[in-house]
């Protein structure tokens, strides 16, 4: 493995847990990446679902449960699927110029840090880090204007029940646009090394970063990151347009076999609320569409009320879990 010839390293450890501010700092660091310099940024978001750049928020997570529990929604710059962050998770981001980018060398910084903590991990596929087949770290990438962002999660002690509560693990859809998440078997690092903490992983990453490239990083202070440019980026990451997209309407089709026959329903939704439902069926109850379609209007897509209505139409419960 050829190491990139970095001459300077930068390091910023975010003192904040606001996902929009943290993502703004990440973009700021990315866009200020200079040739022959690498930046490492360590950050944590308090209870947040982070979706990939090209995902549909309503399709990937249970927005209503999240709102009820005070869990934030954020959209990152990079691709890939939805993840759940809480204070048991540590995020790392590497930023550098495209010409200096070397994915294996940066992955080696992470693997080196884990090895120092007694975790013998390996790279899996193109993007994940795992221990004996269970993923605890996903990574994703963004390239723009000659700079590269390579970032990932490290699950130390994440509340997996909450994770499953907020993320959609749907496997089948008749019609879908946008990038879908792939459900992975995950595990926390604390299952492997019981006394591991986010603080220990953070310290190990900082050490491995300096050791791997043989340079002491210049540490950025929180004050240096409090700039108008960061504040502007924060506002964009927190905006409805960035989170939900300019296309507010999307349509979904569900199909299932109920006691009355096969039923297909097309939903047109706007900001997660069903505006119209068209029901198609081979059922002999010919008035079924006109009788039930209006009751879906104004109902939140993916809500318990929608589930009740579908059950009235004879959708088996496990089908709902699978489809919606």
């Amino acid at each position: 493995m050829k190491l990139p010839m970095f001459k300077h390293l930068r390091l910023f450890v975010s003192p904040w847990t606001d996902p929009y501010l943290n993502l703004a700092c990440e973009e700021e660091l990315l866009r200020s990446a200079r040739p022959e310099e690498c930046g490492l940024y360590l950050w944590q978001n308090d209870r947040t679902v982070v979706i990939g750049r090209n995902q549909n928020a309503y399709r990937e997570c249970h927005i209503y449960e999240m709102q009820a529990d005070g869990v934030k929604l954020a959209r990152r710059l990079s691709g890939g699927g939805a993840v759940y962050h809480d204070m048991g998770n540590l995020n790392y981001s590497f930023v550098c110029a495209d010409d200096d980018y070397n994915r294996p060398a940066l992955a080696a910084v992470v693997l080196g840090a884990l090895a120092g903590l007694g975790v013998e991990a390996s790279l899996s596929g193109r993007n994940d880090i795992e221990v004996s087949g269970r993923k605890f770290s996903g990574s994703a990438f963004y390239k723009t204007d000659g700079c590269v962002l390579h970032h990932g999660t490290l699950m130390c002690n994440v509340d997996c029940d909450k994770m499953n509560r907020y993320l959609h693990a749907s496997s089948a859809k008749l019609k879908s646009r946008g990038v879908r998440s792939v459900k992975a078997r995950v595990r926390n690092l604390c299952e492997i090394v019981p006394d591991i903490t986010v603080a220990k992983v953070s310290a190990a990453l900082q050490k491995s970063y300096a050791d791997t490239f043989g340079i002491m990083p210049a540490v950025l202070s929180a004050e240096e990151m409090q700039t108008p440019s960061v504040e502007e980026k924060r506002a964009r990451f927190a905006s409805e347009e960035w989170l939900y997209g300019k296309e507010e309407k999307f349509s979904e089709t569900l199909g299932f076999k109920g006691p009355a026959g096969e039923i297909y329903i097309e939903f047109a939704t706007e900001r997660g609320i069903i505006r119209t439902a068209h029901i198609f069926t081979d059922s002999l109850a010919v008035d079924l569409p006109e009788r039930y379609a209006p009751s879906f209007e104004g109902v939140a897509y993916g809500s318990d009320r929608m589930k009740e209505l579908l059950e009235t139409l004879g959708m088996p419960e496990e089908e709902y879990e699978r489809l919606v």
Partner: protein, 128 residues
């Protein structure tokens, strides 16, 4: 690697097929092979202004989002909406799968010919 003679190219690996003051814009064969299998294309809307050297779209391959830069300054006249359901067309036929058609183009000074682009790609490969 294919680089059709009749097209112009950019250092950020877009191609442009100019016809009068209108043009089609897409990603080069080299770009699609470097990106790998594309899973999503994020295109602008009709009527959006695009500026030479600035981002106007992005494409996503395996977890990597890459910005696409406009070769010229112009206005988007048509968006290839087929790509929304079939981003793989860019991999299959990079010079057929245009992203946008634009009109009122200016700022063509920096564009490269096919031969210049081939030489540029060769020098990029040599660096890595």
């Amino acid at each position: 690697m294919k680089t059709p003679e009749e097209l112009k190219y950019t250092k950020s690996h877009e191609w442009i097929r100019i016809d009068g003051d209108s043009a089609e814009i897409g990603l080069t064969d080299y770009a699609q092979s470097e990106l790998g299998d594309l899973v999503f294309v994020n295109l602008p809307e009709e009527g959006d202004a695009v500026t030479a050297g600035k981002t106007f779209a992005d494409v996503e391959s395996v977890k990597t989002v890459s910005d696409v830069f406009s070769p010229v300054t112009a206005v988007v006249a048509e968006v290839n909406s087929e790509l929304a359901d079939a981003p793989e067309k860019i991999n299959e036929d990079p010079y057929g799968a245009w992203l946008v058609k634009v009109s009122g183009i200016t700022g063509t000074e920096e564009l490269m010919s096919a031969a210049e682009y081939e030489a540029f790609v060769a020098s990029e490969k040599a660096e890595h």
